[in-house]
């Protein structure tokens, strides 16, 4: 099934339940689909027009109506209830796991800037450091992200993590994930955000705990110059639209 | 439009109505407006209750205009239902968007 749907590899903790639910719905719909289409084809063959025949004169059958209404209703309400539960587990901040790392991802045309807390472990202080279009996170640790945007709406999309969340200017939107294996994966933008929307991509590296602390220490040492504090940057100024007009071939 | 109203058309409801008390309604509207301004600026009612009172007064006035001046009170029931049909949608729009947590 993964081959057929071409789902990317899953590397996050909640990706598994999402994929199982995807497959559950896929199987339900495939069964319904073939049921309906085969029945349709059979009706078309069986009841094709033949001379001298008259169609059955009936206006319907209330019992049948009730049966198929109830059957559909039960199925969708069941799907609704299970999907609501999983949805809240992923998206409701009240149910987020205790984070091992908190980051701010601040989007602008056309880059993803990840703010790390720096030495004091506090975001929004002078020793924060910023990585442009590159994120590094530890494996097996819940990472909590606050999404912000400086200009227009972007959508933070990690295909392998089954994570997508819009970044809206003027809002702080929480999201989280927990990686299950190390490696390098894609960060993309899923909301049309301007001319270079198609190039607004980055990479996310999942490191082992030791690698991550080494990397973190190195970054803190290498980048003493503080990046602009989130929320302090002016919005309208310095947008790269003019520069963006000359695109790469 | 060449459309014309006949007496029959205007009085789709059962009996032709007496002229409603237009001037009395006007007086009530006037008094309610005074009351609104008075309550809003001269009283010391807590803000939340004040808002409810003001909204209630506004809805009362609007209902009077619709019922008497727009004759909904004297129209067929079907027209009355038609007229209030968008109100649930108005409530849905505002309530759900507010429930967003703003």
């Amino acid at each position: 099934m993964n081959e057929f749907w071409r789902l990317p590899e899953n590397v996050s903790t909640f990706g598994g339940p999402i994929d199982s639910m995807f497959h559950l719905i896929a199987w339900i719909t495939i069964v319904v689909f073939f049921g309906v289409e085969l029945l349709l084809l059979w009706f078309l063959f069986r009841y094709r027009a033949r001379p001298g025949r008259k169609a059955t004169f009936t206006h319907g059958n209330s019992r049948l109506e009730i049966i198929w209404t109830a059957a559909t209703a039960i199925m969708v309400v069941y799907l609704g209830i299970i999907s609501r539960g999983l949805w809240l587990d992923i998206k409701d901040p009240a149910r987020f796991p205790e984070p091992g790392l908190e980051l701010i991802v601040r989007a602008k045309q056309f880059e993803w800037n990840t703010h790390y807390p720096g030495a004091d472990g506090q975001l929004g202080t002078a020793d924060d450091f910023v990585r442009r279009n590159q994120m590094s996170v530890p494996v097996d640790v819940p990472v909590r992200i606050t999404l912000q945007s400086e200009d227009v709406i972007h959508s933070f999309y990690l295909p392998e993590f089954r994570l997508k969340q819009d970044a809206v200017p003027g809002m702080n939107i929480p999201a989280w994930f927990e990686a299950t294996r190390t490696g390098e994966f894609t960060v993309g933008c899923a909301e049309l955000c301007g001319l270079q929307h198609y190039r607004m991509k980055g990479t996310i590296r999942v490191l082992s705990a030791e690698e991550f602390s080494a990397w973190n220490a190195q970054q803190m040492a290498a980048a003493p110059a503080p990046g602009p504090l989130p929320g302090s940057a002016s919005n309208a100024a310095g947008s790269p639209v003019v520069a963006a007009a000359g695109h790469a071939h | 439009m060449e459309s014309q109203a006949t007496n029959q058309a205007a009085g789709g409801s059962a009996a032709p109505h007496k002229s409603p008390p237009y001037m009395l309604i006007w007086l009530v509207l006037f008094v309610l407006t005074l009351a609104e301004v008075g309550v809003a600026f001269l009283s010391h009612i807590p803000k939340n209750i004040l808002i409810l009172i003001l909204l209630a007064l506004a809805v009362w006035k609007a209902a009077l205009v619709a019922m008497y001046y727009m004759h909904l009170k004297f129209e067929p029931r079907k027209l009355w239902l038609l007229a209030i049909s968008p109100l649930p949608l108005a409530v849905i729009l505002v309530v759900i968007v507010l429930a967003e947590g703003w």
Binding site: W5, Y47, A55, T56, T69 | -
Partner: protein, 591 residues
């Protein structure tokens, strides 16, 4: 609504005057006749459909061979260098194509094809009325839509090009040219849609009034054909949804031109407010775009199967149910927007519930085919494919309605596949069914049956080969509105699928030329049609083809039964016109 088959005086203005010569301009250009206005809408929206298709072809070319000098865009040299430079499309033009393809198809092709054309043409004919309640408002409605279309087209020519913030016009990209690079184009977009909204609104007032007040004697609510029922609910949705969009568009226009800040976050505005206003309109809009097709297909399938529609009342209540549940599901377009997740849970359940009336309709169409005597004429082929494709479009909707599964699928090609199964597989197939079915009534000639079948077959095949693979590249993680998908490694490995889709899309487009040829050729050379070529039941088939001004030559039709009495034992034929008096009852005197 108890209207017995009592005799009624004919309204005076239908009784005379339709043989006098009306000057050409008043008859065909500034006409107040609902049939001519319907035909005007038909020509206008078919032209826009062709244009929207061309825009899509240009997009598909870029997606298959992104910025590839080996594969220069055909016809690209005809376009100015600000759009296509030496055979390579610029990203600003690609974004404009994305936006204008969506806008033109939704607002200027499908919506007028469904409502502008058929509400105008069919409602008076199916309810037995001589014309609309307000013929002059009707004319106004068409000319406003026409002006809106011109404004939208004009935006291609202004500095900066056409709008490029997507057909949903998400703020602040759409209100700030610093971000999008387009100023005048976005303003024209907002203005044109406001004007079009006003046009649809005037139209709906007219349709609703006509339907409520002008039905023929005996035409009770539950004797209306399902087309008319669907058009009625659609008009109600337009009437109540479009003003909200208009309000939003006006605020957007003020933000763009005056410097207000409704949606500008830097001075306190709320970008999500636009999304709420847009989708509060936008989701009913989805049903505006599908309900009429459901109606046409019901009429055509009952006719093709020579059987009463299965579960007429269930069908009517399903239309009404879809119309009303449709108001409380708009949040599913905003699952990823940062909306309160608890609210997301609510919208998830309402969205899934809307599958119930849709399923009722599918099963009832199947029930109609069961036990029928099915004729495979071109309209019925389109209608049956509609039912087949309805299943796919509905089932893929379940993936998107379930919030957790929507997380990876939102804003990917899975959504693109879904909406095209809905808008092409359903709406457009319904439109093809309707055009071929009512063409003889409109123009007095049949469309060519053989060409119709060829067009149906090719469209059905290439439609599926174009859009079905989009589901997979969507679940594979390809985002929408990407100028160059090969930029991402996980998408680049699916590039052969993108090439496959493009080739099939080109073939799909080419197949539509058959329809265009058939449409024009049949206008002049088609077989002459009689009054009732499909042996159908509803009232319009008792009027001459094409019907004269006033529709029945001054005679008021009287209705005696429902519209689906096919193969009734009451009649020796397998059809029974609604206007046919019951056996033993004298035929009413005709004036």
């Amino acid at each position: 609504m108890s209207t017995a088959a009592a005799m009624h005086e004919v309204p005076a203005h239908g009784a005379h005057g339709h043989h006098e010569e009306i000057p050409f301009i008043r008859k065909y250009i500034f006409s107040t006749d609902h049939k001519i206005i319907g035909i005007q809408f038909l020509f206008m929206s078919l032209a826009f459909l062709l244009l929207g298709g061309l825009l899509a072809m240009a997009m598909r070319w870029q997606l298959a061979w992104p910025s590839n000098a080996e594969m220069p865009m055909p016809g690209g040299s005809l376009l100015p260098e600000t759009m296509v430079n030496s055979g390579i499309m610029l990203p600003e033009f690609y974004n404009a194509l994305v936006t204008m393809h969506g806008t033109i198809m939704v607002f200027f092709a499908i919506m007028p094809l469904l409502v502008g054309v058929w509400a105008n043409y069919l409602i008076p004919l199916q309810i037995g009325a001589p014309d609309m309640a307000f013929p002059r408002l009707n004319m106004l409605s068409f000319w406003m839509a026409f002006t809106a279309g011109i404004l939208m087209l004009a935006s291609f020519g202004v500095t900066g090009g056409a709008a490029n913030a997507g057909w949903t016009g998400y703020t602040p990209l759409s209100i700030n040219d610093v971000y999008s690079g387009v100023k005048t184009g976005q303003q024209l977009w907002a203005l044109s849609l406001t004007l079009l909204g006003f046009s649809s609104l005037v139209g709906s007032v007219n349709y609703i009034t006509t339907l409520i007040n002008m039905r023929a004697p005996g035409m009770t609510w539950f004797r209306l054909p399902l087309s008319t029922w669907a058009l009625f609910i659609t008009s109600v949705l337009i009437l109540l949804a479009v003003p909200v969009l208009a309000g939003g568009l006006i605020m957007m226009f003020f933000d763009q031109t005056l410097g207000t800040n409704f949606f500008k976050p830097e001075s306190g505005g709320q970008p999500l407010l636009w999304q709420h206003l847009f989708w509060f309109f936008g989701h009913p809009e989805v049903y505006i775009l599908i309900l009429p097709s459901m109606g046409f297909v019901s009429d055509v399938i009952a006719n093709g199967s020579r059987k009463p529609i299965f579960g007429y009342y269930a069908m009517v209540w399903a239309i009404i149910g879809i119309g009303f549940i449709g108001w409380i599901v708009w949040g599913h377009h905003m699952f990823m927007s940062g909306m309160n997740p608890l609210l997301g849970g609510f919208f998830m359940i309402t969205t899934l519930v809307i599958a119930v009336p849709s399923a009722i309709k599918t099963f009832n169409w199947m029930g109609t085919l069961w036990g029928g005597n099915i004729r495979f004429h071109a309209p019925n082929l389109y209608a049956i494919s509609f039912v087949a494709l309805f299943a796919i479009g509905g089932l893929s909707g379940i993936f998107l309605a379930a919030g957790p599964v929507d997380i990876p699928l939102h804003d990917t090609y899975f959504v693109v596949a879904h909406i095209h199964y809905v808008l092409v597989g359903r709406s457009l197939f319904g439109i093809f069914a309707a055009i071929t079915f009512w063409y003889p009534k409109m123009f007095g000639r049949m469309m060519h049956e053989g060409l119709g079948k060829v067009h149906w077959l090719l469209t059905f095949i290439f439609f599926n080969t174009t859009f079905f693979p989009m589901h997979m590249i969507g679940s594979g993680g390809m985002m929408r509105r990407l100028y160059d998908p090969t930029q991402y490694p996980h998408i680049a490995q699916m590039q052969d699928t993108n090439v496959f889709i493009t080739i099939n899309a080109l073939l799909l487009f080419a197949a539509q030329l058959i329809f265009a040829f058939n449409f024009i050729w049949s206008l002049f050379k088609g077989k002459k049609a009689g009054t009732n070529p499909w042996e159908a039941n509803s009232v319009e088939w008792s009027a001459p083809s094409p019907p004269p001004h006033g529709n029945w030559g001054g005679v008021q039709p009287v209705v005696y039964r429902g519209p689906y009495e096919y193969s009734s034992p009451e009649s020796e034929h397998d059809f029974l016109l609604q206007t046919q008096p019951p056996a033993g009852q004298p035929v009413p005197a005709r004036h």
